[in-house]
């Protein structure tokens, strides 16, 4: 059992709150499957299974690909890695910005000390 330490519930966790969806992930961990095969396996209607897969897809846990008339589902691990990589790039952009901001604020602080505090509006 995985313990979630974070209070923030994101889409991925919502997606995992349902037993059928966890079952679908388990199933896709073994082999890719079409939506109709998943519907049959979990004794559901096609529409019901489409909804579950849609939630997993939104959360990046599953990716689907339509070939002809068949939509094949597989685990979306690559998508997760891409998300992690993107957030890290975004964090670095902000970190670089803030490093430059430090320099500006240091300079303002020095100037203020040198000239005495002036009233600002």
């Amino acid at each position: 059992m995985v313990q979630y330490r974070h209070a923030h519930v994101d889409a991925s966790f919502g997606a995992l709150s349902d037993a059928t969806r966890r079952g679908v992930l388990e199933h896709l961990g073994r082999a890719n499957a079409s939506i109709s095969a998943l519907a049959e396996r979990f004794h559901m209607t096609l529409t019901g299974m489409r909804k579950h897969v849609g939630v997993l897809e939104q959360a990046g846990l599953v990716s689907t690909e339509k070939v002809g008339r068949v939509r094949t589902c597989k685990l979306g691990l690559r998508g997760l890695e891409e998300e992690a990589a993107w957030i890290e790039r975004y964090r670095r952009l902000w970190a670089a910005r803030f490093d430059e901001l430090d320099i500006v604020v240091e300079e303002l602080t020095r100037k203020e000390k040198a000239h005495g505090r002036k009233p600002r509006t």
């Binding site: 994101d10 993107w86 970190a95 910005r97 490093d99 430090d102 303002l108």
Partner: protein, 169 residues
């Protein structure tokens, strides 16, 4: 001793964190060593803002930076990147000196993003919280997606355990 001298010579940078609060929200936090009054000035004065908003290491050329920082005022930033020019523009919705700034980003095709920056001063340092609310989940994902790195580790763990548990059946 040498160790203490080294510590003084290279002050550590404060950490920057990013969190995806929901499908449409990204939150960046960082502490800046200075009072909110000065940090706010650096966010609201064009000549200061342009010095830090575009990190030197990113190879972007800031062509112009116009900021009319008051409620209803506009800002516009123009960049040159290789052969193209990009513009970012929007409107200030809230300007509360030294504590809060809210503006829109209107250059996107998918609607406005609203950025809220709060400045919280504690013992001469300022905690900055930059909160972006995107018009849709797709707008976040198309600039590509964000998610909490820790949460992703946990998901990887969970998926790995799901996979190994299926192997034993």
């Amino acid at each position: 001793m040498d160790a203490s001298r080294e510590r003084e010579a290279t002050p550590a940078k404060n950490p920057t964190t990013v969190e995806r609060k929901s499908e449409r929200e990204l939150v960046v936090t960082r502490t800046v060593n200075g009072p909110a009054r000065l940090v706010f000035e650096a966010w609201t004065t064009a000549e200061l803002f342009r010095r830090w908003w575009v990190p030197k290491s990113y190879g972007l050329n800031l062509l112009s930076c116009d900021m009319d920082v008051r409620v209803g005022g506009q800002y516009r930033l123009a960049f040159r990147h290789e052969d193209s020019t990009m513009e970012f523009f929007g409107t200030y919705l809230e300007v509360t000196p030294h504590s809060r700034l809210v503006w829109t980003n209107e250059e996107g095709d998918e609607g406005k993003t609203i950025t809220t920056v709060t400045f919280e001063e504690h013992a001469g340092k300022t905690l900055l919280i930059v909160h972006d609310l995107y018009p849709s989940k797709e707008a976040v994902d198309s600039g590509s997606t964000g998610a909490m790195p820790e949460a992703l580790d946990q998901l990887d763990e969970l998926l790995a355990s799901l996979r190994s548990s299926t192997e034993t059946r």
